[in-house]
């Protein structure tokens, strides 16, 4: 067989996103190079996808790990899942707020627990049992996301990290009654 890899950030991007913020769309992201190198060296696909997602979780530009969006209480509740098609193994976590790389915790659920999905307090306890890297919650919270939460609260709305193309008949100016420019740039 031949190796192949694909990565994504968020679906839906503000069509007016400043060019300087579109840089990731014009050059191969470092995470892709890391994934390619892993596959070229013969590493299993499951190792490659975990490696790539870990890198993206560390980039505050994306809504995962550091830079995750905030709940209405201003807290972080992250979630992640991983699946190995070789044997259809899977692991997932929800509601983690201190785990630096939720995707790696999901993999530990897959490989070192008798379960496939742990959430909230149970996931946090499992993370500590497994010795994964723990961060203060402030590590995940960015100024941009605090500002966006304020806007969302003012509008009493959930902000999606996707945008709808004009072809679906939705105004390019407003969405859910909000200026489209305030939607998450992902």
């Amino acid at each position: 067989s031949k190796w192949a890899i694909a990565v994504h950030g968020g679906a839906g991007v503000d069509p007016n996103l400043p060019l300087e913020r579109q840089g990731g769309g014009n050059a191969p992201p470092p995470c892709l190079a890391a994934g390619i190198a892993a596959l070229q060296s013969g590493e299993p696909a499951v190792d490659a996808v975990e490696l790539v997602v870990r890198e993206m979780e560390s980039d505050p530009f994306f809504n995962a790990g550091r830079g995750s969006v905030l709940t209405r209480n201003g807290t972080v509740e992250m979630e992640a899942s991983i699946m190995d098609g070789n044997g259809r193994l899977c692991g997932a976590v929800s509601g983690v707020s201190t785990v630096k790389n939720p995707i790696s915790l999901a993999r530990l659920v897959m490989e070192r627990s008798p379960h496939s999905y742990l959430a909230f307090q149970g996931a946090e306890e499992f993370a500590r049992q497994q010795g994964v890297e723990i961060m203060d919650e402030s590590y995940f919270i960015t100024e941009a996301n605090v500002s966006m939460l304020k806007l969302a609260k003012q509008a009493n709305s959930i902000l999606y990290d996707y945008k709808v193309p004009d072809t679906f008949g939705v105004s390019a100016v407003l969405m859910n009654g909000l200026p489209i420019a305030i939607y998450a740039p992902e």
Partner: protein, 131 residues
């Protein structure tokens, strides 16, 4: 939301997805990403990772649907991805990336754009946001 799908030189597929969910979400909200079969899925045929409106992705079991279309209808990867995005999402908005065990890559979305990048052993590489 971020995600990655890969197939290694032995034809083993894997998928991973990670997210913070929705801004201003109610505490305790579970999205599609941790729900295997909705936002993430991998089997012998393919691996899929989704992003977008989580509630719609859950209703459509979007990632599993791509695999099921290949498994039960014999569709190719690209055909299955297009069918899932265009026919299965109802009024939801989402995007996904996928790889097949044969080393193919495909993506699809019905939003204004999706940050994505892909590469394969033959030297193909694509990095894009828009359609």
């Amino acid at each position: 939301t971020v995600g990655c799908t890969a197939v290694d030189k032995y034809g083993r597929c894997a998928a991973a997805t990670s997210t913070g969910g929705l801004m201003n979400k109610i505490n305790g909200r579970i999205g599609d990403s941790p729900l295997i079969g909705s936002g993430t899925y991998a089997c012998r045929d393919c691996a899929v990772s989704c992003t977008g409106e989580g509630e719609a992705i859950i209703r459509a079991t979007l990632a599993r649907d791509v695999a099921a279309l290949m498994e039960y209808k014999g569709m190719g990867l690209k055909e299955a991805v297009d069918c899932a995005i265009k026919e299965k999402l109802d009024k939801g908005f989402a995007g996904l990336i996928a790889v097949s065990a044969k080393g193919e890559v495909a993506y699809g979305f019905n939003t204004s754009g999706m940050f994505r990048a892909c590469a394969d052993e033959d030297g193909f590489m694509e990095v894009a946001i828009w359609e």
